[in-house]
Amino acid sequence: MDSAALLLPQLFNGLSVASLYLLAAVGLALSFGLMRVINMAHGEMLMLGGYLAWLTLMVVPGGFGIIAALPVAFLGTAAIGALVHMGLIRRLADRPLDTLLATWGLSLILQQAARDLFGPIGVEVRAPDWLSGSFTLAGVVIPSARLLIIVMTILVLGGIAALLDRTRVGLDIRAVNQDRMMASATGINVRAVELIVFCVGSGVAGVAGVLLALLGPVTPNAGQVYIVPAFLVVVMGGLGSLTGTSVAALILGLFTALAQIFVDVSIAQMLMLVLVILFLQVRPQGVVAVRSRALDV
């Protein structure tokens, strides 16, 4: 097969895969950076986002239901994120390893709950007509759904960057990120900041879940497919850095897409793991190293 002809389409596909990785990973990166919490139930926020899209489409049928589903999924998963934080993570604040186990258990419970509530087979979320087509640009067929995903990712990243850099809350988040004790001593409510970050991270995963539903099945297991790449992105990006996470998502997305020109998807996924391992040998701190007391052990 003509590999050169596949280069441009795969560059575009790489961008769209990177966008999904990034949306799935942002919440993980934020909560790890701030709280050193590894949230194993993060994939289930994606899954819940997909189901919220399905529920929204039942209430708002028609072409723009999927747009309505984005804020619904964001708020819905953010609310569940708040419950998880207040009910589970806050109570295990000083025991990071226990959170790992507890959130893994939560992940299983959420999957089973989705199975019992919505059935194990999954539900049907169809892209509306205006999103199910494609157009051709410079010889590359660009599916509208994938373009929407890239645009949404840029919007979400811009939103989070603005939140961190331009708002009072963002200032607090950065302060807690740099030195939790000192921030606390200056009167910042560390618990509240953590709660906000956890909610925003879960909400973004919910948005990712809606977008995923345009391209894949909505099933109780849907989140499991994306959780491993998301962890890889966070680890490779340098823990707790938004820029690092974005760069790592781009690297991994483009790498798997370009590798697929030559090998099957299974091999491409294996090569992606090899890439991350080699990268961490050379640069164990990740793409961007954040100097943060929160991460000093």
Partner: protein, 406 residues
């Protein structure tokens, strides 16, 4: 919020209660036949990526068991079905098969879907001398005395599909499948036959079972521009594949797709609009006009809902239970070795897919049909093999010199 949380808890409790219930099946020796009951295993994926296909097969098997019990049972014994969840995971299938046979002492097991699950269970059945009734089409290249292969062999599904495609004038093919033994072997056989026919395979791509990223595969299909795609994806990867094909402007109406694992149930679960116009090759379609088929559909719908879809593997699962009953009655014993010997000498018996029989190699003699999916979720039968096809586990082109003698 609190309501949501307490509901989650309630579900968690229910789930564990169910699991406990399933564990407390009765324990008995003598091939499951103790007192006035005989226990059999029903082992399908009730969760995970294969649940989309396998839950309904379990339902059909349970329907047959209930019908037989209502009619007096087998050799005067009622059938107790022990249902286990293979969870779309081959090692879970092996573990549950061993639990059913060794802990629960079942007389036989009905179940399995993916070839990976069958291959994982095979050593368990050979070690314990028990018998598995396997309801799904597969890649052949296997011949075990401990499995009754009721689903299609390659020459009963894949090759009739290829023959049909050739008759339609399709000359270039793109093969896509899940990355495990069935799609790889089926495609190996197809490639040999396509090349022998002087036609071209423009590409071959595999995606992990349950995988959802088809961007690279679709770019390759766009480059290759095949006449037809032959799709051996299993489970809900199909949803992702057809969604992304449609997003790329290649709906089944524009790019013909022949699928080997999409039946009425899968089409319904995926949303018919997504797969309308695609082709499938099976030994049974719900739209078959047969009196036995009407009866089966009515009975299934009475039990599982008026809009339930019926598929080929469900009918195979259903007829497997009846074939087991007939074989047990012929052998006058629940002993798996006697049952399998009786099963291959039963001769022709009536099923919802018409009369079929088990051949000496423990596979089913059956017809093949090609269907085109209509908007109402039913397949229009557009071609059939005419005569019954004798099952051939080893394709002579792909595996020359091998044969299945039991």
């Amino acid at each position: 919020m609190v309501v949501v949380r307490s509901r989650l808890l309630a579900f968690a409790c229910m789930a564990s209660a169910l699991a406990l219930g399933a564990c407390s099946g009765e324990k008995s020796a003598d091939a499951g036949a103790a007192g006035d009951a005989v226990s059999v295993g029903v082992l399908q994926s009730l969760t995970g990526t294969m649940a989309i296909s396998e839950i309904t097969v379990k339902n059909a098997e349970m329907l047959a068991i209930d019908e037989i019990n209502a009619a007096g049972g087998v050799l005067g014994k009622k059938i107790t079905a022990l249902v286990e969840d293979g969870a779309s995971d081959p090692s879970t299938f092996a573990q549950k098969a061993s639990k059913l046979i060794e802990d629960n002492g079942v007389a036989t097991v009905f179940g399995g879907w993916t070839s990976a699950s069958r291959k994982a269970m095979l050593p368990v059945f050979e070690r314990t001398g028990n018998l598995l009734w396997y309801p799904v089409q597969f890649e052949g290249n296997e011949c075990s005395p401990n499995i009754m292969y009721s689903g299609a062999q390659p020459n009963q599904q894949a090759l009739p599909a290829l023959k049909w495609a050739v008759e339609q004038g399709h000359k270039s093919y793109f093969l896509i499948g899940s990355d495990y033994v069935y799609p790889r072997t089926a495609n190996l056989i197809l490639k040999k036959h396509i090349e022998k026919g002087g036609m071209k395979v423009l590409g071959e791509a595999y995606v992990p079972l349950g995988g959802t990223d088809f961007s690279g595969v679709i770019a390759k299909i766009q480059q290759a521009r095949p006449d037809i795609i032959i799709n051996t994806l299993n489970g809900d990867s199909n949803v992702a594949f057809f969604k992304q094909m449609q997003a790329a402007g290649m709906s089944p109406a524009k790019m013909p797709v022949m699928s080997f694992s999409i039946g009425e149930q899968e089409a319904k679960a995926m949303g018919t609009a997504l797969v309308e116009g695609s082709f499938a090759s099976w030994n049974y379609f719900q739209s078959l006009k047969l009196a036995d088929n009407d009866k089966f559909i009515a009975a299934y719908r009475a039990k599982y809902g008026a809009d339930a879809a019926i598929t080929d593997p469900m009918v195979h699962g259903y007829l497997d239970v009846y074939a087991w009953k007939a074989a047990v009655e012929k052998a006058k014993s629940f002993d798996p070795a006697a049952v399998r010997k009786a099963a291959v000498t039963l001769g022709s018996f009536d099923t919802p897919m018409g009369p079929v029989a088990f051949a000496a190699n423990q596979s089913l003699v059956q017809k093949a049909y090609i269907g085109k999916l209509k908007a109402d979720g039913q397949f229009e039968i557009i071609a059939d093999s005419g005569a019954d096809i004798q099952p051939e586990p080893y394709d002579p082109l792909a595996f020359p010199g091998k044969s299945c003698k039991l």
